[in-house]
Amino acid sequence: MVLCWLSTLSAWADPVLDSIARQFELDEVTVSARRREEPVIPVQKLEGARLEGLSTQSVADAVRYFSGVQIKDYGGVGGLKTVDVRSMGTNHLGVFYDGIEIGNAQNGTVDLGKFSMDNIEQIALYNGQKSEIFQPAKDFGSAGTLYIKTRRPKFSADKRFNLSVTLKGGTFGLINPSVLYEQKITDNIHFSANAEFTHAHGRYHFRYRKVLADGSTAWDTTAVRLNGDVRACRAEAGFFGYLPEGKWHVKGYCYDSEKGIPGAIVNNVWKNSQRQWDRNAFVQGNFTKRITKGFDVQANAKYSNDWMRYLNPDTTLMYIDNSFTQQEVYLSLASRLAIVGPKGFVWHNSLNWDISLSADWQWNYLQGNLADFVFPERNTVLAALATQLDWTYIKAQASVLGTFVFDKLHRPTLTMPVANKQDPQFTPAVFLTAHPYIKDLYIRTFYKRIFRMPTFNDLYYTDVGNIDLKPEYTTQYDLGAEYTKSWQQGFLRTVDLKVDGYFNQVKNKIVAIPKGNGQYRWQMMNLGYVEILGCDVNGSITIDLTHDVLLSFAAAYTYQRAKDLSEPGEITYGGQIAYIPRHSGSATANLLWRGLSVNYAFIYVGERYHNSANIPENYERPWYTHDMSISYELPLGSRVEAISPRLYFALEINNMLNQQYEVILNYPMPGINGRGIIRLTI
C-alpha cells in the first residue's frame, strides 16, 4: 500500500530512498518475522517523498492531511496545536514518539506544534489501535493512536557515517538550523544525534472585515499579531542495535522553549503579554528479541521530566506565575507466542495463530506552586491479552485491556497522603479483515471500547477538580473497505482507495460546568454525551508519464455528524459539537522528475459552529488553504551513487491566496507565508 507504492516510486526516483526502504522492510521482517502486507486496522501514513513535499513545520501540520482528523490550531509558529480524531476529543488520541507514549498526566493533551518535522521519517495514524498485537499494553489504550517515528540511521554501501546540516528560514522571522549526525560504530550498533534551534518573532498581519447587507464594507481592520514569538532548542541522541533475531535502541531527548501566548483578539485588545516556558526531557529504550522459535519478547522503559511555567505579567489582570513539574516512569514487558503457523509450535503453511500478553507499569507525579495544590501521584498498571488469527481469506485480532489506577494526594497540610483508587477497567477491541475472492480488495470492521482516565487537572486542580469523576468512555464501530493495486510498469503504477464508515459514542464526557456564585468558577462533571456518525475516504494514484516523470495524487475526505446529546430540551441538543465541520478534506499532488519535486496541497475545512448551539451567532465560515512547494536535490561530486554528497533546496509558499481565516474563534491565522530550506548531506 502506501509504503509499497512509495518504495516503488522511490525505487525509480531515488536509489537512496530505495535502499532505505529496502532496509526498512528488512528491518520489519527481522522483527516480526512475518509478512504483514495489509493491516487489519485502518492506517493512514505519511512518509518519504510525500511527507517531504508537504510544507510542514510541525507534526500537527502534517496530520492535517489525514482524514477523520480535526486540528485545533491557535495560529503562529509557537501556537498550541492539538488533534481530535473522529470527534472524540483531543484527550482520546494517544501520541507515541518512537514507540513510547508521550504522556501528559496533568491535562491529557499533547501539543503537536512542539514536535518539529526536522527528523521525522514517518507519521502514522491508526483508528482504534496499531495493527499489531505484539506491543506494550499502553498501545491498546487509546481510541486513536498517532505514531511519530524519527529517522533511524541507515548507511548505504561502505559508508561509516552520515552528516546533514539544514537551514530553514522564512516569514515570521523564522530561523531554524539543525544538524544530524549518524555513525556506524559497528555493523550492529549505530549512533544518531540530532539538534535543532528554532527562533521566530511570530509577527504577522491579519485582517478582520464585515460587510453590510448591501455588500459594502461595515468595518475592515488590519493589525499585527503580537506576542507570538518563540525560541526553542531540541536535542536528541540515540543508539540503535541489531541482534540476531532482535534489536534494541536507547534514546535521550531534551527540549527547551520560551514563547509568547498571543491570546484572543477581542474588541480594544490587540496584544497580550502572557508567556510560557517548557523544559521537557526523557530517556527511553526498547529491546526486542526472539527467545526461541515462536516466542518473542520486548521490553520498553522511559523516564520523563517535564517542567512548565506560565506567567501573566500584566498587572491590570490577575498576576499569575505558576510552574509545574511532571515526572513519569514507565516500564513495559510484552511477549508473543506463535502457536500455529510456519514458525509456530504447530506447523501450518497458511494459517497463523498468535497470542500476546503484555504488562505495563507507570508512575506519574505532579508538583506545582499553586495555592492549595495537592501534589497528585498516580500508579497505573495495564495488562493486555491479545490474539491474532491469519488465514488466507480472513485476519482477525482481539484484545482486552485491564487498567488499574491508584492515585495518592500529598496535600502539604496533611501528614499522610490521601489515596484515591479508580475502579478497575476492562475494555475490549475486535478487528476483522476479510480478503474475499476479488483480488486486491479488503473489507474490514472493528469494534473498540476504551476510555480516558480523568487527568490530574480534572480530578485535583485547586477548586475546579472533582475527585469523584469517572472515566470518559468511547465506543467505536467501523466498517470499511480498501482496494489497492500496484503495477511494475505501464501508465498506472498504484491505485489505492479506502472508505470507512463509523459510529462513535462518547459517554460520561468530562465537561466543566459553572458552580456557586463566584465569577467563572467551574466544576468538572461527567455530564456529556456525544454521538458521531462519520465517513472517511482516502484515495491515491500514481502515474508514470514516462521520460522519468512520475505524478501522484492523494485525497482525503471526511464527513462527520457529531451530535451533542448532553442536555435534552436545550438549544444545544442534537447540535453539531464545537469546531467540528461536517465536511472537510485535503488533496495533494506531487510531481517527480529526477531530483526535482513539485508539490501542491489543498486543505478544506467546511462550515462549523463554535458552540453546540448551531445558531447564526456561532457560525464559523469554511476555510481553505493552497500550499505549493518545489524542491531539488543536486548530487555533488562525480559519483552518482547514493553515497555522494548531496545538496537539497526547497521553497514553500503556504496559503497562496492569502486567505484570512480562524480555526478557533478570535485566534487569527497567518495569511500568505513562505519558507526556504537548504540542506547539505555528506
Binding site: G263, N267, T316, V511, P514, K515, G516, N517, M525, N611
Partner: protein, 377 residues
Amino acid sequence: MKQILTYIILPCLLLTACRTDIPVTPAQEEQHGEKQLTSITGFYLLNEGNMGSNKSTLDYYDYPTATYRRNIYGETNPNVPKELGDVGNDLQIYGGRMYAVINGSNKIEVLDARSCKRIGQVDIPNCRYIRFRDNYAYVTSYAGPVQINPDYEQIGYVARFDTATLQIDAQCLVGFQPDELAIVGNRIYVANSGGYRVPNYENTLSVIDLASFTELKRIPVAVNLHRVRADRHNQLWVSSRGNYYDIPSRLYCISTQSETVIDSVDAAVSNIDIVGDSLYLCATEWSYLQMQDSVTYGIVDVVSHKLVTTNFITDGTEQSIKKPYGLKVNPVTREIYVTDAKNYVNPGTVYCFSPEGVQLWSARTGDLPAHIAFLGK
C-alpha cells in the same frame, strides 16, 4: 495533464472563489409577553459572553410592542470593529445615555440610551461597575497602577470621569479588587473583594469622600464583598461571597449614619435588587454533597431585616432555570426578571415573572445574560 486541471485544480480554485464575506450579525426579533404602557418603555439586557469569546451583546425588550430584539449592537453600530467586546460586566442608564462596562475590552462603552447609537468610549483597564452623581461617573477597577516592583500588589481604584467630555480626571485607590459601589449622600461606598488574593480575601468596605475624592476609612464587614446597594432608610445592603469553603455567602446591613454593620441576614447572595422596601435576591451555592448548586430566590424586608420568602417563584417554573445569574425588578410594574446563564457558553434565557411569581414569558438571549437596565420615558 489537462484532465487533472479540469477535475482537481479547477474545483479547488472555484471553492476559493465562492467564500462569502461575513455580514454584520443582524438582530433577531420575537414577540413575548403582553403589550404594556407605563413610564418604563423597555429594558436593555447586557450579555457578558464567556471570557475571550468577544461575544458581549445587547438585547432590548420594548414594552409597548412586546417585542424582544436580540443582538442589537451590531445592527445599530455596524461600523465598530469587533463589535461591543469581551465580557460585559455592568449596564447603567444615566442622563439619557447608557454605559456598558466591558471588562475584557478594558472600556466603558457610551451609547445613546434611546437609539443605542455609540457616542464614545472611556478606557479603564479591568473595569467592573459604574455609578453616577451629578456630572461624574465613578467606575471601580481591579487594575493596579503600573509599577515595576517584584512585590507589587494589585491595589484597586475608583476612577472618576466627566460624563460630558468622557475624560478621566481622578483616581482614588481603595482595597484589592473592588466590585460594586454605592453613592449615598456625600460618600462612595466600595465593596472590596480581594478576589485575586485567594485565600487572603479583603473584608472591608471603603468609604470615599465625594468632594475630596479620597478614601476616608474602611468598614470591616466580611470576606470577599461583592454587591453594595442603598435602600431608602439610610441603610446599605452588602453581600459577601464567602470563601467558597468554610465561610458561606451572606448578606449584611450597614447603617450609613453610624457606618457600622448593624445586622445580617442568613442568606447566600449572588445578585440583588431593591425596589421599595423589598430586597430581591437570588443565590446559587455549590454543595459538595450533592455536587450541584442549591438555589434560593428570596425577598428580604429592608425594614424588618427578615427573609420574607425563600422562593419568590410560586409556580414551580424555577426548576427549568439552570443557573440564575441576573436579577432585576421593574420598579413600576414590579415584574421580576431572572436570567439563566446555563453553562456560561451556551445561549441563555431571560424569564419574566409577575409580581406574584408566576412565569409570564421567556426569551432566548445571547451568551451569559446578566445585566438589565430599564429605559424610562
